[in-house]
Symmetry: C2
Subunit: 245 residues, 2 copies
Amino acid sequence: MSDSLSITLDRSSPVPLYHQVAQQLELAIRQGVLAPGDKIDNEIALANTLGLSRPTMRQAIQTLVDKGMLVRKRGVGTQVVHGKIRRNVELTSLYDDLAAAGQQQRTEVLALRREHADETTAAQLRLAAGDDIWTLHRLRFVNDEPLALLRNHLPAALVDLTDVDLASSGLYEHLRRAGVHLRVAEQRIGAKAADDQERELLASGDVPLLTMERTAFNDAGSVIEYGHHVYRSDLYAFEITLVDR
Amino acid sequence: MSDSLSITLDRSSPVPLYHQVAQQLELAIRQGVLAPGDKIDNEIALANTLGLSRPTMRQAIQTLVDKGMLVRKRGVGTQVVHGKIRRNVELTSLYDDLAAAGQQQRTEVLALRREHADETTAAQLRLAAGDDIWTLHRLRFVNDEPLALLRNHLPAALVDLTDVDLASSGLYEHLRRAGVHLRVAEQRIGAKAADDQERELLASGDVPLLTMERTAFNDAGSVIEYGHHVYRSDLYAFEITLVDR
DNA sequence: GTCAATGCTTTGTCAGGACATATTGACGTA
DNA sequence: TACGTCAATATGTCCTGACAAAGCATTGAC
């Protein structure tokens, strides 16, 4: 179970060495070069092989341990435990999920307007009532079936959504490109019966709806986005891999 | 925004120094001694104050950064961003959730038997059909209202549930006490309408049910537990704090 | 008065070393 | 054969030291 691992380092790259190692290790695991159960060489040997110091090698391994892909045991060694780790729910984005699954999909923008926040919305965004916000309603289809109704509010001060084509790319992707970096999100997942509007839009009949409320924060602790989404439960579920540390 | 922090270290304790620091820092934040927005001293100053090296101090801070409570900015400093972080979904356990909320609750064990796994269950537990397993059905009440139906399967080889009082303590708590350590769990959260049995047990009428399927793994990558739970959506929702790294 | 250059502060990355401790297996003894 | 001891192995913790890079504020030139 030793390594036919070929890890290459680029010391002139701005990408930290430990990150280069972690990425290539993760790739090897995901591609099955290293399978669950395989032991990797000990830290010191790996560090020597790659011409790195032990702390740097440890930092690389630690990244994958945190992701739940590797397990270290003192006196024993480090082992692969899970090959496929579903994205750590890195702030679940439906669009990404669907794209990854390769399903045919499209999004219809029902409403995109800049307006003054009412009291409820302002509170959700930690703003004052009357502050400028974006209100965004979208309807998402998979294989031409309506799947989800996505309602979002964002502080207008943070990002400009004018002329943004939200039909062809996800909201989170746009935020990333605009330099808005998410750090923490509080999510609440529940279920409920559809109301009249939802039933009409989602054509869900008597299918229960899965609901997701999310408040997302940036580095500074400001609210970036508040979302209230509903999904047809016969077509969608949240899948999460949790790691206990 | 400087520190009236009083962190005490015990170098004779088996608890690592970085962990002692992290725990006391986290407590200070949770208790509001350090409020969101406050800046903490720089790493070097803190290390000197506590008589630690900078890497040790960094390691302590890093754990709180990973939890989403602190944010570091190069050239600027380290700041508190979130005071209350909902348990990182450390493998959500309903019992803990309810206990924390201080609600009056009780659990009824509907079935607890040791049996041979049928093919479906064996596959879920990554066992062979016919292997010994535990089957556990529980009904949970809050304020005397039925809230959730919990169905679990566990490999009999891993833990003995004979004479375990699952009415008065959570399953996960018992597993921890038995030395079974959880590392990774795959969860799937969805919604559905109640079937006849569920409607009868949960008296849910037409309330949609929130469903949670979970497969939990230990350090070795073996399946510890498979659970299929349903919750009354009018009484329960999953709350999760996600951290993007 | 505006803007660019510069320097200081703080975190980020990396190296190398030392000792502690858990685990395993081999060895020797009862 | 069974059990305890001990050594080898690998990770865990902690230290010192150094330089890089990003942010911010101040300074200086135009």
